[in-house]
């Protein structure tokens, strides 16, 4: 057994997966500890609700509510699982967006802006082309492509600025994020796409269903009754597989990764590094735009267009999704689902206990913090026998507790 473990840990991939799993476990444990501390410190909670909180942090996804006696019940909850998959859809794509840029040696912190531009383009196309004259699947496809294109163009801007003027992409991304936030508000302010039909909804854009455009659910609604899931999830998984193939099997992917791993060597080999920087950022932007398109084309939610004060959290959450997956496109599918599961956990906590959903942000923050240590954890797993001292490296984890994520303002 021990021997088998040692052999497994000699493989780099296995160590990467294990280090991500360790980050997740520690993150969940920290979440539990905080649930216990806040519960015990609060006068309105007793030991029972603390125990409920802990159980929900660990198993909120299989919570089925409370029984007649008020006890928590657990089991397969199709609505929870379906909603998890629905919420994972945009996270997988923003995660891919960040991961692709990482592989090319770039930090795409511009996913929120690309996501917003994708949102705007998708909604405008989906709501403007009358489905009375154009079949709705065609409108859907055009809106989807418009979202990708808008995101790609927006992502290409920091890429161009970096390639031509050598300005750090992080700075350019942060600025384009806020420009996008204001541009989107400016586009929709006073526009015909505002929801003027329902009282008090003028801060929102119509759902795409208003024009009869929505992603097909074919069968998934029967599988997960009561949830918002649709085939957008399948498309996201398909895109992740395509990205994986692109990055690992094609000459273009080879060039991108070569540039990312060693820009000097890539230049030496005659690879046009500047073109690749722009290309990588455009692909990253297109993926974020696709995430936005799939989210809003679901027709489940309506978009709050006053975005100038806040950036969408989905964009930023692409960063932990990518980090936790070690930028592996296939891994992103799973970490995206995990992040959306935490979201569901937060909902369960809010509706079933006195706790609020922000506890899940603490868990995410802890995991992000630890994924930055993933290399250290990997080394530790590799040389565990020789250096038992490395154990103390896991210690900084609780410090992340106060690093909770900023909650973005996304219309829901």
């Amino acid at each position: 057994m021990k021997e088998k473990w040692r052999q497994l840990m000699e493989r780099d991939g296995a160590r990467t997966v294990a280090s991500s799993l360790i980050s997740i476990v520690i993150g969940l444990l920290v979440g539990c500890i905080i649930v216990i501390i806040t519960g015990l410190a609060s006068s309105s909670m007793d030991g029972g609700s603390v125990w409920d909180g802990v159980r929900l942090v660990l198993g909120g996804i299989v919570s089925t509510g409370r029984d007649a006696a008020g006890r928590l019940t657990f089991g397969f909850n199709p609505a929870n699982v379906g909603n998890m998959l629905f919420r994972a859809t945009p996270l997988i794509l923003t995660g891919l967006s960040v991961a692709v840029a990482f592989k090319t040696g770039l930090f795409n912190i511009g996913a929120p802006g690309q996501y917003l531009m994708g949102t705007a383009a998708t909604l405008i196309v989906a709501l403007s082309i009358p489905t009375s004259s154009v079949p709705s699947p065609v409108v859907w496809l055009l809106a989807f492509l418009a979202g990708i294109l808008a995101g790609a163009l927006w992502g290409a801007i920091p890429g161009l600025v970096k390639a031509l003027l050598n300005i750090n992409e992080v700075l350019a991304c942060i600025m384009t994020n806020w420009i996008a936030a204001n541009v989107v508000t400016w586009i929709f302010d006073g526009s015909v796409w505002r929801n003027l039909e329902e009282y008090g909804k003028t801060n929102y854009i119509y759902k795409t269903t208003h024009n009869g455009v929505e992603t097909a659910r074919a069968g998934l609604d029967a599988l997960f009754p009561g949830s918002q899931v649709n085939w957008g999830f399948g498309i996201a998984v398909g895109i992740a597989v395509l990205v994986y193939v692109f990055m690992t099997k094609t000459t273009m992917g080879y060039e991108l990764v070569a540039c990312g791993s060693n820009r000097h060597a890539a230049r030496y080999a005659g690879i046009n590094d500047k073109r690749n920087i722009v290309l990588s950022m455009a692909i990253a932007g297109g993926l974020s735009g696709a995430g936005a398109a799939l989210y809003w084309l679901s027709g489940n939610t309506e978009f709050a267009w006053l975005t100038y004060q806040a950036l969408p959290a989905t964009g930023f959450n692409g960063i932990p999704v990518a980090l936790l997956a070690a930028s592996n496109p296939i891994g992103v599918i799973f970490t995206g689902c995990f992040m959306s599961m935490l979201n569901i956990v937060g909902q369960q906590l809010t509706s079933l206990t006195p706790y609020n959903e922000y506890i899940t942000d603490v868990i995410i923050a802890t995991i992000v913090y630890l994924s930055a240590f993933s290399l250290v954890i990997k080394l530790w797993l590799g040389g565990r026998k020789k250096r038992p001292k490395a154990q103390e490296l896991a210690a900084p984890a609780p410090a992340a507790a106060d690093g909770g994520e900023e909650k973005g303002g996304e219309g829901a």
Binding site: K249, M252, V257, S261, Y268, A269, N272
Partner: protein, 513 residues
């Protein structure tokens, strides 16, 4: 009988995960001797010295000073025992003055204030006594490498060190500076200081040392008196087999010019002048032309400008009859292969596997891709072929991570890749830097073989032995200009050294007739 041994390192064993760096090594340093420590890269020289200097703790073995067992836990302990070290890469603070650097860590203070006057007097006295000329008030960033080394030596003397370790001290020096250093070392020995001299340059070891200890692959091979041995015997001990020291080659039979530079200029990143200033020369098919010079005289920029990594600011480059002065890197690559100076920066993508690195320029060739998809099978087969042909050793063959390979095999992989592209011009920049004798022998042989196949070879080297050994024609570069052209048969290291140091020069340009 051991009383004359000032330092004894007995049965030292130092292990790192997966490797035994020092395996039962014994080294005895006598008072007043110059003791050379010889070995290939990875033989364990640096590890052994780091143990002595307190940077590593050995698993087994003891260190004795004057017969007393001592424990050296950190460099401060070493300094207290009178052990000083000049590291291969100098440990100086560039923005401090020479004097500040010398006293740093051993300052005399009064009520918290520096007493520089006394320090200055002491340093000046030392400097005069040993002829170590330094400008005490210059900033380290403004002085030459040779002077920086003198500063390092003065640092040891200022601390009254009795045991001086020199880690590959001659790598950065001109021949004249090397001679001065040797004289200084002998002077120290005469005064009863003991010197450990780490090197793999056999000429210097023969010239200056009293005894030599040879290490190989972490093991102790033996200690010999220098006067009882010769270069060949030492190199055989070091490598473990008989080594060809001199490159055997027939006289060159140059053909047409493959590469022509005319008034070629490349701007400098460090200053406003041109790093390469109106340089003109030809390299013909079937000859090895070597650019000799001290590091930092424009050789790097010359190669960057020539290969397209840096934009040139004037003049023309003609390669195989085509003006490529403004061509892209890939376009130039059609007719030249480039063994780069820095194998980690330019030569390899360390995170890639060996096979991915071997097709770094060729992945788009028809043979390695179909409609944009890389043909894995073809890449692997090609990698296997090169690995076999050029004897590149690696843990897992084609899929080995480039990062995990030894420096010598990384360099072999680059050489395999570049030579197999079969281009008319080969630009090789310090192709043997940091490699051991066995690997050097191999690479020199390959370059000569390419020359004999009718390729033009432009070699840039800082090692004068290599320059003298390998080239058919030598161009000396000084401050961005070619200051002389020589036939290796009719010149010697001393003459080259004068030109390299800027003390002599041919008429401006040194242009071939």
């Amino acid at each position: 009988m051991d009383s004359e041994n000032v330092i004894e390192m007995l049965h030292i064993t130092k292990e790192f995960p997966g490797i035994i760096a020092n395996d039962d090594i014994t080294l005895q340093l006598r008072r007043g001797e110059i003791h050379a420590l010889l070995g290939e890269n990875g033989a364990g020289k640096s590890t052994l010295m780091s143990v002595l200097f307190g940077l590593y703790q050995p698993e087994k073995g003891v260190i004795k000073k004057n017969g007393q067992e001592v424990k050296i836990n950190d460099p401060n302990d070493a300094t207290a025992l009178g052990i000083g070290m000049v590291h291969q890469h100098f440990k100086l603070i560039e923005v401090f003055t020479v004097l500040d650097n010398i006293i740093l860590g051993a300052e005399t203070t009064k009520a918290g204030f520096l007493q520089k006057k006394e320090a200055r007097a002491k340093v000046e006295a030392l400097s005069q006594r040993y002829g170590l000329k330094v400008d005490l008030d210059a900033k380290v960033e403004d002085i030459t490498v040779g002077m920086q080394q003198r500063v390092e030596i003065l640092k040891m003397l200022y601390r009254d060190n009795e045991i001086l370790i020199f880690d590959e001290p001659t790598a950065v020096l001109t021949p004249q500076e090397i001679d001065e250093l040797m004289a200084t070392m002998k002077e120290f020995a005469k005064e009863g200081k003991s010197i450990l001299f780490i090197s793999h340059k056999l000429n210097e070891i023969m010239a200056v040392s009293d005894r030599v200890t040879v290490l190989r692959k972490g093991r102790y091979i033996g200690t010999v008196d220098t006067r009882d041995t010769d270069k060949q015997a030492l190199s055989d001990m070091m490598v473990g087999r008989s080594v060809q020291l001199e490159v055997k080659k027939a006289p060159a039979q140059p053909g047409e010019a493959v590469l022509s530079l005319r008034d070629f200029c490349v701007p400098s990143r460090a200053h406003k002048r041109n790093a390469v200033d109106h340089v003109s020369f030809d390299v013909r098919a079937g000859e090895i032309v070597c650019i000799a010079g001290i590091d930092g005289n424009g050789q790097t920029e010359l190669v960057y400008g020539l290969t397209g990594l840096e934009k040139s600011s004037g003049g023309t480059v003609t390669l195989c009859g085509e003006d490529i002065s403004h061509a892209s890197i890939r376009h130039r690559g059609r007719n030249l292969s480039h063994i780069p100076e820095d194998r980690h920066k330019h030569g390899l993508v360390l995170d890639f596997s060996l096979e991915q690195n071997l097709v770094l320029q060729r992945y788009q060739e028809k043979r390695f891709q179909t409609r944009g998809f890389i043909n894995r099978g073809a890449v692997r087969e090609y990698a296997r072929q090169l690995i076999g042909q050029y004897d590149v050793r690696s843990g897992q063959g084609p899929v080995t991570a480039a990062r995990s390979m030894s420096g010598g095999n990384q360099q072999k992989a680059i050489i395999a890749r570049e030579l197999d592209r079969e281009k008319p011009l080969i630009v090789a920049v310090q192709p043997t830097r940091g490699l051991d004798v066995g690997a050097i022998e191999y690479i020199h042989g390959q370059l000569v073989a390419e020359r004999d196949r009718g390729r033009a070879v432009l070699l840039v080297s800082l090692e004068l032995d290599e320059v003298m050994n390998l080239s058919d024609r030598i161009l000396v570069m000084y401050e961005g200009e070619i200051v002389g052209e020589f036939d290796p048969q009719q010149t010697d290291v001393q003459e080259l050294g004068l030109y390299m140091a800027g003390a002599k020069r041919a008429e401006k340009g040194g242009r071939p007739a």
